[in-house]
């Protein structure tokens, strides 16, 4: 059995199920992100794990013991809140020491552990400050120290970076992962930011409408989405259609994208239009021969290391991101016709 298990967990608000029979197993020391659009049930699930919401069905088991009937103060989980939730009337030291005092730890040990925790989040020397005297990033670190100092079984992070500006956010997320790996604590990280989730997680649980759509490593989520929602939600995709030319059982099949013919390794039923997703960075421009999909360059946008091209084919837009070191954007002009090409392995079949 895994360290943290959700078994058929259900949550109902006013007769609508916002979390539907959820199952998830998390190993000890693992960092798992809950990723999904707002209203997908990720925060609700986190609050059920923390104990702020009661489960309406199913079980939550930590380290072999069911915890879903315990009140939040008996669950031994550290939580970092979106708005930090520091105690405004206590100093940084007292904020971090609060959980230890409740556990009747000796004064000397409290002192030592608080200072260690503050050092870990690089806030040594800030003990006497009050929360309102700290910047957002510093408050977030106090919040992290406060959650970790009690050595909780599980660390819960509820969109911890969403109130920080972009640059700080990136710094903080690296710091959080660093600390998490150092301490080796089992962690759940709730976010709606996919870049964040892909960058820091051991595994990502993509959630939609109260269900987990897919739990997998970031690379697997990106490259092998298992559901239609995951394909559309993670990264950007072009939605393209092909005509199936030739298809025999157990044989590779031939398809045609408006005349651009490709051989697919997997089987597609013949005679129907088949739909695929294709990521913009998988598309290249072919100036050498006449292979490829004929497209009109509607616009090109210089984005630093790469250029985004907006192609038009039969009233259908196609986005392509091409590295400027691979292809010099000056070679083509807006309004020109070019050939777009891609590897058939990069096509993601649309799952209905």
């Amino acid at each position: 059995m895994s360290y943290l298990c959700l078994e058929n967990v259900v949550k109902t608000f006013n007769k609508t199920e916002v979390v539907k029979k959820m199952n998830l197993e998390i190993e000890k020391g693992e960092l798992v992100s809950f990723l999904g659009p707002s209203g997908c049930g990720k925060t609700t699930t986190l609050n059920m794990i923390a104990g702020f919401l009661e489960v309406d069905g199913g079980k939550i088991v930590v380290d072999g013991k069911p915890v879903h009937l315990l009140p939040p103060n008996k669950r031994e989980m550290g939580m970092v809140f979106q708005n930090y939730a520091l105690f405004p009337h206590m100093t940084v030291f007292d904020n971090v020491a609060y959980g230890l005092k409740l556990r009747k730890v000796s004064k000397a040990e409290i002192n030592q552990r608080v200072l260690e925790a503050l050092e870990m989040v690089r806030l040594s020397g800030y003990e006497k400050r009050y929360p309102k005297e700290l910047s957002g990033g510093q408050q977030q670190r106090v919040s992290l120290a406060r959650a970790l100092v009690i050595k909780p079984k599980v660390l819960l992070l509820d969109e911890p970076l969403s109130n920080l500006d972009a640059k700080l956010r990136q710094e903080m997320r690296e710091e959080i992962v660093g600390i998490q790996k150092k301490v080796g604590i089992t962690t759940i990280f709730v976010t709606h930011d996919q870049e964040e989730a892909l960058a820091i997680s051991d595994r990502v649980a993509v959630m939609y409408e109260g269900r987990i759509e897919q739990v997998d490593t970031p690379a697997a989520i990106y490259n092998h989405p298992q559901t239609d929602f995951v394909s559309r939600f993670i990264g950007e995709v072009n939605h393209i259609q092909a005509e199936v030319m030739e298809s025999n059982d157990d044989q590779p099949c031939k398809v045609s994208f408006d005349g651009y013919q490709q051989v697919l390794s997997h089987h597609v039923p013949k005679g129907v239009l088949s739909e695929f997703y294709l990521r913009p960075e998988k598309i290249q421009i072919n100036l050498e021969n006449n292979q490829g999909l004929k497209v009109l360059v509607e616009r090109k946008m210089f984005l630093g290391s790469k250029t985004r091209y907006i192609f038009l084919n039969n009233n259908q837009y196609l986005f392509a991101d091409i590295s400027n070191t691979v292809f010099n954007p000056d070679q083509i002009k807006e309004g020109q016709e070019v050939l777009a090409v891609w590897n058939p392995e990069d096509l993601l079949p649309v799952k209905k």
Binding site: E54, V55, D56, G57, K59, L69
Partner: protein
Amino acid sequence: MQADMEIKQEQELLYEQKKKKSTRKKLDSWLLLLPTLAIFIFFFVLPLFFLFITSFKTFDASSGIGNDWTLQNYVKFLTDTFYLGVLWRTVKIGLITTLAAIAISYPVAYQMTIAKGRTKNYLTLLVLSPLLISMVIRCYGWVILLGNNGVINNALVKLGLIDQPLTLLYTEFSVVIGMVHVLFPYMVLSIMGSLERIDPSVIRASQNLGASPIRTFFSVVLPLTLPGIFAGSVMVFSLAVSSFVTPAILGGPQVKLMSFLTYEQVTTMLNWPYGSAIGFLLIFIATITIIVYSKLLAKSEKGVAIQ
């Protein structure tokens, strides 16, 4: 099969626990409310209810409250010109007080709105401090100032403007002065609230379109603060008609208002039923004002929403 049973049992257990929790929550909220509610029901709702009943009883010279039911107390008040005169005077003084309060509050509220930082804090303290000082004492100060031998009369006589001291005290004038003094902070707070909500860019926009400051004030600022003036007026009016201390000290028996009449009927005439009836007519006036106000407010808010 057995696993199914287990799941079912577990679900039932969960359900039971949930039920217990929600009843506990309900119990918590009622326990928190209990002391306040108990005091209010026993010492506020019940006494007022009994007094309401009393107002429909006949007068009995020996015990104050007779045994028979009657509407006579209300009829008597509403048909007697003397009592109707008191009612009219109460409303009139309420209206004059309200208008006077608007006139002197607006500039002060405006000054406080444009003031900054410390000055603003001190002005707030200055304006609100009368609220905190005993009403009896403040009214007594006006007695000293307005009396026949008071500062104002003495000054006027010395300046040769008058030969005989004017009768200022125990008049409608002195009552209005006292009431404005007591109720003015409510009006300032209310007007200030709406002045502060005005977006400064609206004023700049008006001036940018070529309006003079005075034109801007009358066509932009004043209309935007009408809700504040209105809310303040309702508060001041309903407090003025029901106030007792100020008219008792600065008006006395010479300037009888509804509240004083209630007091007099109960304590000196010992006519409890009649005193109660007057009291409930007073409640009626104050409540009607508030109800009309909130109806109008709801209407105007709808109007705003449509715009």
